[in-house]
């Protein structure tokens, strides 16, 4: 067995101190989000607070807290109905479709719940530009116009230049290119924007930095505040939109849900033109560790969180993950989510029929449905699948 020195807390770096080369921006959003999250005591809310929130046109952060509280659980049906009206108002019956493309799975971090973590013995790989192009071609044939490019978080294994070239190639085949890669400096985001990317998603995992410290034991990802400010640096770099998420189940999901929405809310206030997206992942089992399972976030709680996001941020795009079952995804797009992935492979490569993925997957997905299948299912729900709702200018 390899010795992992970070298992001993005294060998870990300080998770609140920036590493050299990490850009520091002038922002107090992290302090404001943490202060509000720490003050949030969800046991104080009553059914009346929830009903009052549902009466309002525009919800306050306090209303959002009420919707996330245990007092809201018995009112979920009412909340879902209101969320559905709000979704229709802003998006009609449109459901955006996309697929993630994992181009590399090298990772320098040690996040104990993640299949890509550097100590996990998996097949590591990165796509050559030739392989990447074949992958894009195969995806474009399905009719999709939006891709989300993902890498493991390794500046060595997948440097900014490599990601930039991937964006340029993807632009030949798709209208919308999002990135879910390691957090970087605003100048690097600017470069990737010029290469064709316009959306950046960074999962904060948990907004509780003490808990975060115990899960992300090594690597640059360990630096909590640098990760927190990634969306703001992306906007400063000229990206059109940014995505937020907490990995629900890592810590107290109500507090993490609140922090996620409030983070997005404050950022949109500071940069009113920024387009906001929210993802709603729960923990999934990974290769070599099938004990990981979402504990207190059952489908009921997950739906509650998603509906609370919708009502607090009615204009936000909400993505529903392939981590969830087909039935859950199908119903959630008719209530609150507006974006769904299809034809997903979380391995490196794997979109070309009959070819095996070159590298192992980050997590096990629950819904393997093809693009055609998801398209038809959306239609059967009386909704309109949308391949593009974006223009690169």
């Amino acid at each position: 067995m390899e010795e992992i020195k970070e298992l001993d807390p005294k060998n870990r770096i300080d998770h609140m101190t920036y590493l050299p080369d990490m850009e520091i921006i002038n922002s107090d959003l992290d302090k404001r989000v943490v202060a509000a999250m720490n003050e949030y005591d969800y046991t104080l809310f009553t059914a009346n607070d929830v009903l009052a929130a549902l009466e309002k046109d525009v919800l306050s952060p306090r209303d959002f807290q009420a919707l996330l509280s245990p007092a809201a659980e018995p009112l979920l049906e009412q909340i879902a109905r209101r969320a559905q009206r709000e979704t229709r108002k802003h998006f009609g019956n449109s459901v955006m479709m996309f697929t993630p493309v994992y181009i590399a799975n090298y990772c320098e971090n040690f996040c104990i719940y993640c299949g890509f973590n550097r100590h996990n013995k998996i097949r590591r790989a990165k796509l050559s530009f030739e392989e990447m192009e074949r992958e894009f071609e195969a995806i474009a044939k399905t009719g999709l116009q939006e891709v989300l490019i993902l890498t493991g978080e390794s500046r060595k294994g997948s440097d900014v230049k490599y990601i930039g070239e991937a964006c340029k190639l993807a632009r030949k085949y798709f209208k919308v290119i999002g990135l879910e890669v390691y957090p970087m400096n605003s100048g690097e985001y600017k470069y990737l924007h010029e290469c064709g990317a316009d959306y950046v998603t960074v999962f904060q995992e948990t907004y509780n930095s003490d808990k975060y410290e115990t899960l992300h034991l090594a690597g640059h990802k360990r630096i909590w505040p640098y990760r927190f400010n990634a969306q703001e640096r992306a906007i400063l770099g000229g990206m059109r939109g940014v995505g937020f998420a907490a990995l629900l189940g890592l810590d107290d999901f109500r507090k993490d849900g609140f922090a996620t929405g409030y983070h997005a809310y404050l950022l949109q206030q500071k940069y009113p033109h920024a387009e906001i997206a929210i993802s709603c992942p729960r923990l999934r089992p990974i290769i070599n560790n099938d004990k990981i399972n979402p504990k207190d976030v059952h489908e009921r709680q997950l739906l509650q969180v998603i509906c609370a996001y919708r009502l607090f941020l009615p204009f936000a795009s909400i993505t529903i993950s392939t981590r969830e079952s087909n039935t859950f995804r199908k119903h959630v797009i008719s209530i609150a989510a507006t974006k769904i992935s299809a034809g997903v492979s979380t391995g490196i490569g794997g979109h070309i029929e009959g070819e095996e993925a070159k590298g192992d997957a980050q997590f096990e997905i629950n819904d393997n449905a093809s693009v055609d299948y998801v398209y038809r299912e959306i239609e059967e729900m009386g909704m309109q699948p949308v391949m593009s709702d974006y223009i690169y200018v």
Partner: protein, 255 residues
């Protein structure tokens, strides 16, 4: 005489401009037919290069396409999207949407006026979507706009003519068709806008979110026609207090 209105050199008899977003593509044709619409708006951002769910394939022939610049955050971006629309064969009409607020989607009048000037010079029939402000509307008219499209209420809210008093001022003062756009939630509200003298009404969400999309399109058609007919007939004199005073205030006047 035929009751028509003009945008650029084009004449229209239908005063209902229909949106194509937020509902199923295969309902667009029926909605256009039931609405009797001659103009349909289209977000260029929704048009794709692929052949799956490409909105351009669903717009019936013979209807004037009105592409909008949704997605533009400033005049420069709006101009680029307009040129792109022309390149892909969407014609010379352009509805300017300049929005740099992702929450309320309120139009930026200043950037919209700038975009109007740029695009009018390039020969577009420019239809600026705006917040009903008289000064901005005058700037847009002077910059070469073909009409003015003030919002009735924040887009998608279905709240009706929340900005009624300001739209009335635009109708009185601006010598161009005033087309009420955004916020109209019910046929009765569209009718009211037309009674006030709006040249046309544009609606999308109200129809897109109706239980029966084509049927609601038809309901709007009748409401708009009724409002127009009322405007042309001249609405009746309405006494403020309900009755004339028995001893008139001006009874003392002698010669």
């Amino acid at each position: 005489m035929k009751d028509t209105f003009k945008l650029g050199n084009h004449e229209f008899t239908s005063r209902f401009i229909l949106g194509s977003g937020k509902y199923s593509l295969d309902l667009i044709k029926a909605a256009v037919e039931n609405a009797g619409a001659q103009i349909i708006t289209l977000a260029l951002r929704r048009a794709t290069t692929g052949n799956v769910a490409n909105i351009l394939d669903y717009i019936p022939k013979g209807v004037t396409l009105l592409p909008n610049t949704s997605g533009a955050r400033n005049a420069e971006e709006a101009a680029r999207i307009a040129r792109l629309a022309r390149e892909v064969g969407c014609g010379d009409f352009i509805k300017i949407e300049c929005i740099r607020d992702s929450k309320y989607l309120l139009p930026d009048n200043y950037e919209t006026a700038k975009a109007t000037e740029i695009l009018a010079k390039e020969g577009f029939v420019v239809m600026p979507y705006m917040y009903p402000d008289l000064n901005a509307a005058r700037d847009m008219a002077n910059a070469g706009a073909a009409c003015i499209m003030p919002l009735g209420a924040p887009i998608g809210t279905n709240k009706g003519l929340a900005t009624k008093e300001f739209i009335r001022i635009l109708i009185d003062e601006i010598d161009l068709p005033v087309i009420v756009d955004a916020g109209i939630g019910k046929p009765s509200q569209a009718c009211e806008a037309m009674e006030m003298g709006a040249a046309a009404v544009m609606a999308n969400t109200a129809i897109a979110t109706a239980g029966d999309v084509p049927a609601m399109a038809e309901a709007f058609k009748y409401a708009i026609a009724a409002g127009r007919a009322a405007y042309l007939a001249g609405t009746g004199r309405v006494l403020e207090t309900g009755a004339a005073a028995s001893s008139p205030l001006t009874g003392f006047l002698a010669d």
